[in-house]
């Protein structure tokens, strides 16, 4: 689903790039704040309360948290390399947005998928450099950030329906928005390509669900229960 340069018009490309960079900055600031708060909580439990003000900052827990985010990113990158045939003459790979968001939370999930997309675009020509904003919007914002709240809503009783619905939401909504962007750029007619786009991504959504469920289980069993 990585959009290359040339498919989208300049106005849309620049607008989405500006929005995505702003959102990435906001997510990084939220991550920074959450880790600072976590550090002070640890200090409050272990040290005298008067020590908090003078020792606010990142603790050993924060380093482990950042290490965990990096590891989740490595898993997403590696599994995105693995294309699997889903229909005749078409292949698909994991998006990883739901996997990242469930393990790391919505803000860190957005940052993780954004960093993976930046690496793929700059070093591997996988997705355009100018189209990076659109790809981050589709796969990190819709595919990870928004999907996390879908997961949260549907996983109140059980984890599995939440993952299933979030993965389908992630893939199908991201592909729908991708189609809208292509229509707005006069690359394709939304009404004529809608059925094909949905058909192509249905297999990908099933694949996403299965791989996400398996990866979350394996990652948690190896690395423990992560923070959300």
């Amino acid at each position: 689903m990585h959009i290359p340069d040339g498919f989208l018009n300049n106005n849309l490309t620049v607008g989405l790039l500006a929005g995505s960079v702003s959102m990435l900055g906001y997510c990084l600031s939220k991550i920074s704040k959450s880790v600072t708060v976590a550090s002070s909580r640890v200090l409050a439990n272990n040290v005298s309360v008067t020590g908090i003000d003078s020792q606010l900052g990142f603790s050993e827990n924060a380093n482990k948290y950042f290490q965990r985010l990096a590891l989740i990113a490595l898993w997403v990158f590696a599994f995105q390399m693995f294309n699997i045939p889903v229909k005749s003459a078409t292949s698909a790979h994991l998006l990883g947005g739901v996997f990242a968001a469930i393990l790391a939370g919505p803000f860190a999930g957005f940052a993780i998928i954004s960093f993976v997309l930046i690496t793929q675009s700059l070093f591997f020509s996988d997705g355009g450099i100018l189209a990076l904003g659109a790809n981050i919007f589709n796969m990190a914002f819709i595919g990870s950030f928004l999907s996390y709240y879908v997961y949260k809503y549907f996983s109140r009783r059980s984890h599995y329906p939440g993952v299933f619905i979030a993965c389908f939401f992630s893939v199908m909504t991201a592909s729908l928005v991708c189609l809208l962007e292509l229509e707005l750029s006069d690359s394709i007619m939304f009404s004529t390509a809608f059925k094909d786009m949905m058909n192509l991504h249905l297999g990908m959504a099933c694949l996403e669900t299965l791989i996400t469920l398996a990866l979350i289980k394996v990652f948690r069993s190896i690395n423990g229960q992560p923070n959300e």
Binding site: F7, G57, F79, N83, T90, I118, S187, M204
Partner: protein, 91 residues
Amino acid sequence: MNKKNLVFIIPIFTVLLASLFASKLPDTLETLAINYGFEDKAKKTFSLFSNYSFPFVENHYASTFLAGIIGLCILYILFKITTNVIKSLAK
């Protein structure tokens, strides 16, 4: 084997499997572009490891594997740099 090492070994092993068995068929968006005739609009961008291949290595499997490993290293370094920037800004 230390369980903690597995968290690093699994992505490396996945890159190895991807270099050997990943499908070369076009992905969903490429298929759509081909079917609707707008694939020519795509502009080629230069990257050091275009299409997940390591320059100067002729063996396709080795080239993809090396490019994937480099990708993992780049991503890990990118996270380390970001962590350090966040830490320094928070002080």
